[in-house]
Every structure is written in C-alpha cells, then in structure tokens.
Symmetry: C2
Subunit: 348 residues, 2 copies
Amino acid sequence: MSITIRDVAEAAGVSVATVSRVANGSTNAYPVRPQTRARVLEAIATLGYRPNDNARGLLLKRSGLIGIVVPDISNPYYPEVSRGIEDVAHANGYKLMFCSTDRLPERASAYIEALLLKRVDGLVIVGGGDEIQLSAATVATYDTKVVFIGRPSASFSTVRIDNVGAARDATEHLLALGHRRVGFISAGTSSNTVIERRRGYLEALKARGLEIDEDLIVDGDFTEAVGYAAARQLLLLENPPTAIFAANDRMALGAMAAVADLGLSVPNDVALVGFDDVPMSGYLRPALTTVSLAAQELGERAMEILLKDIEGRPGRRRVRVATKLVVRDSCGASAQSPAGRALKAPAA
Amino acid sequence: MSITIRDVAEAAGVSVATVSRVANGSTNAYPVRPQTRARVLEAIATLGYRPNDNARGLLLKRSGLIGIVVPDISNPYYPEVSRGIEDVAHANGYKLMFCSTDRLPERASAYIEALLLKRVDGLVIVGGGDEIQLSAATVATYDTKVVFIGRPSASFSTVRIDNVGAARDATEHLLALGHRRVGFISAGTSSNTVIERRRGYLEALKARGLEIDEDLIVDGDFTEAVGYAAARQLLLLENPPTAIFAANDRMALGAMAAVADLGLSVPNDVALVGFDDVPMSGYLRPALTTVSLAAQELGERAMEILLKDIEGRPGRRRVRVATKLVVRDSCGASAQSPAGRALKAPAA
DNA sequence: ACCGTTTCGGAAACGGATTACAGAAAAGGT
DNA sequence: ACCTTTTCTGTAATCCGTTTCCGAAACGGT
C-alpha cells in the first residue's frame, strides 16, 4: 500500500541501509557517494516516500511528540499557554499532541493514557483542576518527562505564578481606592488556581483588618454566563459590594454585562478587576483592570524544562513567572492616573 | 527499560500471544481460560504494562489519531470547531493531534508533514487561509482521509458555511435599518473566508444600487488591535460610515473600543455587526450583533465525514452548515425589537 | 481405556526503519 | 601490478505487539 524504504531502495538500486542514511543526515562514519545520494533522493521524490514514524519510534524509543493537557480550550488563557509551549517545541523539532479535557475526569485520564501509549517524549499538564488526580506514584510509572503548569507538586517540575500574591495585590488595589465591600467571584473548590486566588483575596481583607462577609463570595465556573449570574447576585444584595474581583477575565466580562444590565456603571458604581489579561480585556470599554500573567511565558518555561529533562539533565525544577496588575479603567483608578489606561492606542 | 508484553508473559507464566488476547478483547476463536486471564490481568496491573502504540500502529496500520490543523488557536472560533471534532472523535475512540499554524506557511507544511509521518487516520484542515497550499495531486499522496472546514475544494470533502450569503444578510440588515454608508473591516486577501464575506458585503450594496466607496473597505487581520486601528481609520474619514461590518468578532470588539475612544457610541453613532458569534460577543455591552455559525457543529460534521471515510465508505461529501444573524444591540435594531437582545438573562 | 472434539496456549512471522558489522570497491603507495 | 588503506554499501538483527497456524491438553462418549 504505502511506500516503504524497501520500495525506494529497489527503485534506486541500492540497499535499505543506504536509503536510510540518505534520508537522515548520513552518519559521518558511513558516507554516501554524491551520485548514489542523488539517485536515492530522486527515488524518494518520485515515489513520494514518507518514512513511517511508528517504525522509527519503535526502534529509536522516541516519538518527537510532546503531549499537552489543558482543562478547557475555550478559555483563551490556555491557547496562549499552548502557544508558548508550541513555539519552543517547534523550534526544537518536537510536535504537540494537544488535548482538552473540558474538566471531565474520564476524559482527562483517557487522554493522559492515550498520550502515554503514544510514547510522548514529554507531558505538560496545564491547570490545577481536580479532574486530574495524579499521585507521585502514578506519575512515576509514566516513563516520560512531566511538567506541571499551575499545579503544585512536591515531586515534579512546576511552572507557576504566585496566585495568592497576585490576588492579594489586586484586592489591595481596590481597597487602596477606598472600597470596603469587595465581592469575589470564585469558581468552586475544584481548582487549585482559584483556591489560591481566593486565599489572596481573603489575605488582603485580613491585612486591612476587614471582616469577611461570606455573602460577598459567590461561586462561578470560569465562564461568562456564570460570571454574569454571580455578579447579579452580588449586586442585588441588600448591602451590595462597591467593587468586584473576578477570578478570571471571562467571568469579569460577564460581571461587566450584569452591571450594565442593572443600569449601573463600571467603574463609577462598581469597580471591577479580573485575572488573566486575555487579549480582549484591553479592548473592553471600560478597559478591564486585570492581572497579567504572561501565559505564553509559562508555556515556554515549561517546555524548556522538558527539553532539559529529555536531554538527560533531569531534576525537579520549579519556576515562578511574574505577574503584574495591569491597571486600566474598570477599577476606577485611571481617573487619578490616566496613564493607567494601557490601550489608548491600538498598540497592545 | 519499559515493560513489554514479553515481561508480562513471563510474569504470568504464559506466552505473549495469551497476553495479547487478554489485553485486547480476546478473539472469540481463541478463548482464554478465566483463571489464566486473571493471572495475566494481575501481571499487567502489577507491572504497569502499557502496550506500545508504535508497535501496534506499525502492525495494524492505524494510529487512532486524527490530525487537525487550525490557523490560529487564539481566535476563539477555532477552539470551538476543535471541540466539535474532539467530541465526535473521542466518542469513537480517536484521539486528536492538534496544530496551530499561526498562519505561517512553513509551520503549516511542517505540521501537516509531521501528521502524515505519524500516520494519522484522518486529517481535518480548518480555515481557508493561503498559508496552506494543497493541490489535489499533493493531497492524493497523503494516504489518509482528508476533510476541509471552510475551504473550497473540487476534489475533497468539505464542511462549509455560506459566507457570501451570511455577509450579504448581515450587510442588508444594516441597510434595512437605513444606513447608507456601511464600512467593512476586511482581513487581507489571503483567506478565502474573508474574500467571501467581502463579496457578500459588496453584493448587498449592489443589490440596493449603492455604489462602492473603496474608502469604506479597510484591511484588518482578524485581531482586536487591527480592528481598532481599522475602525479608527474609518471613523476619521471626512465622510465616515454610520455602520461598520467587521469580518470577525475580535475585530468588531476592537472597533467597538475605537468608537468609544472617539467619544462616539454604539449603536447610536455607529452601528456595528461582527461575524462568528464567539462566546464573549453576547456579553459585550452593547451586546454584539453578529453572524452565528455553529462552529462546534462544523467540527462535528467534519469528524463524521472522516469516520465514514475511515470505515470504508469513501466519497467526496459536501456539507453546508447553516448560519444565523443574531441581532443584539450593537446594530441599533433592538430599539425596534427589544427581543433582539439575546442575552438579557445569563442563559446563553 | 480409547478416540474424537473442543478448548487453550505457544512458536513464529510480520510490519518498517535503523545501525553494527562485515565485506566490496575504490583510492593511494611503491 | 600488487598490497594496504579508505570509502562506501549491503546483510541481518532489532524494536514490540498481533495474529495465524499448530500442537497439546481437556473433555465427553462409548
């Protein structure tokens, strides 16, 4: 059916060994004469030969594949991370196998298993959701390099941001602007990420000696729709918050819509801060104040770790990528410093 | 190093054939005694045996992989398409190899080549960009099933939407609201998709006997940043448009920001219509009027075609997925029909 | 106890590419 | 011309699962 190396060998009148040597950069130890090489290359071209990666992988014990598992492809944050991984992977001759679990445990484990069967050379697990349960013992059987992005681990390499600190800073920013009732739109307890962001929020309140009002903490699920509902719930309280901190930008967008639909305005009636700094956030009006976390860089760092591991310099590495509060208009701070509006000009 | 089927056989005191029969659903013709089966299963579990997919693929000539190539993972439209593909693929035991070309020709061809080397069982090429040049003769050498989403082809199966018709309807909608100067934010000539949308725009104007003002057509590139710049350029014309039709939602968002920054308002000063209906669009305020194109369904249809092809019922299939103009607030029509505001309640 | 079925398990071939080893051809030296 | 060295090419083993073909064991019947 498909063209094998033997077909090429026959067409060129040489042995399979010679074809192989031509196809890959011929080993210096076994050079191929230019005219022979030319004959082989011609045969490859005319037959349209494509070496079978299964056969290569079987023998070489490497697939040239990196597996990447993300919780939810429709959240723009993950594509950004993926792009970082992809850029570094591609530059080093690796290809990506990309899987989105949609936060479904069965799908998550099915995908991880499939990636292992494919003998990926490395595995990047993105996000801290509990749809993925990985004991160190389990991962130890994987026979591939593993790195986590945004998930704490005592045994494996991780690339993370300081969610607690960033959320604390974001909340403190609102408090510094004079807000005393700050709502928080959370997202369950299934994701480490959100748990940490919530902790940062609480720490900021405590640092100011404010007491925690549980009514001000509402559960979301990372989507606009639920952000909308959560904000609505907050704003319809007897004693509504004057500021809302949403655990991600998508929920912040939903919240912004809810504020508008209640006839209120951001930031005058309600200040709003998000988290992630996805591309759209700077183009909302009012532009969204949010925590920028260099998603692409997270991916790049993770892939670099993987490369080192693959090249035989293993070790548990832990990288922290810096975050930055991007102050735009939605928090109301720009009235004092118009420069905070990052996107007056289209240059992002 | 890693556990092979022979290790398992030895541990269980049986032959490799028996292990294989247990691991897969034992062929009816060669049953395995329950106690033997149990011994084997136990050995598999304790050793943590994972059959090598390279070896299987080599022998069985199938990889269980579907390759998918998208132009730009950061545009939310493509993740939606992917999810459609993924759902159907996953339900049928196929896994996805996902690649984003970032519209770079070298990367596109490198990825397609890599997917072919991996012997994917099927290939979905998404988008109509010219970074991918595929002659029928080239694809014919691929030795895998191929389906295009959003790219016309005389020789291969396609899943498409009626871009021309949808753009015509969207433009006509603006014209029906009384607009006579309607700007169009395009996106180069490299993508079929945008060429068709532009044609639809022009057809709508012609149908009304309006003459084309080239100044009203500005080039974008699918991103918010360039949408912003393009809208700004349009609105600063001596004779600016009263309505703008953007070739996708991301550019529409940029345009919305530009309108606001010029001290104008949507829809009162400028009516705005987008294309794609990405998740955020319903949560912008004003909510974005846009063309909804069932991205997920596109993916599902494509994958279904692939499955049929793989199962031995080949043939060139052409599927059209319906689009729908979702009238929200940004076009100014909702003043007449408040029901047009699709997202008063969070239920999307 | 013997024979004929049925049920199970094993040996071996196969898939396609890589590479160590050996052997052939060409080049170099006298 | 002949021998040594260098340069090239071919043979065959190997990677790991699957499956076909056979032989062995177990069972039932008489």
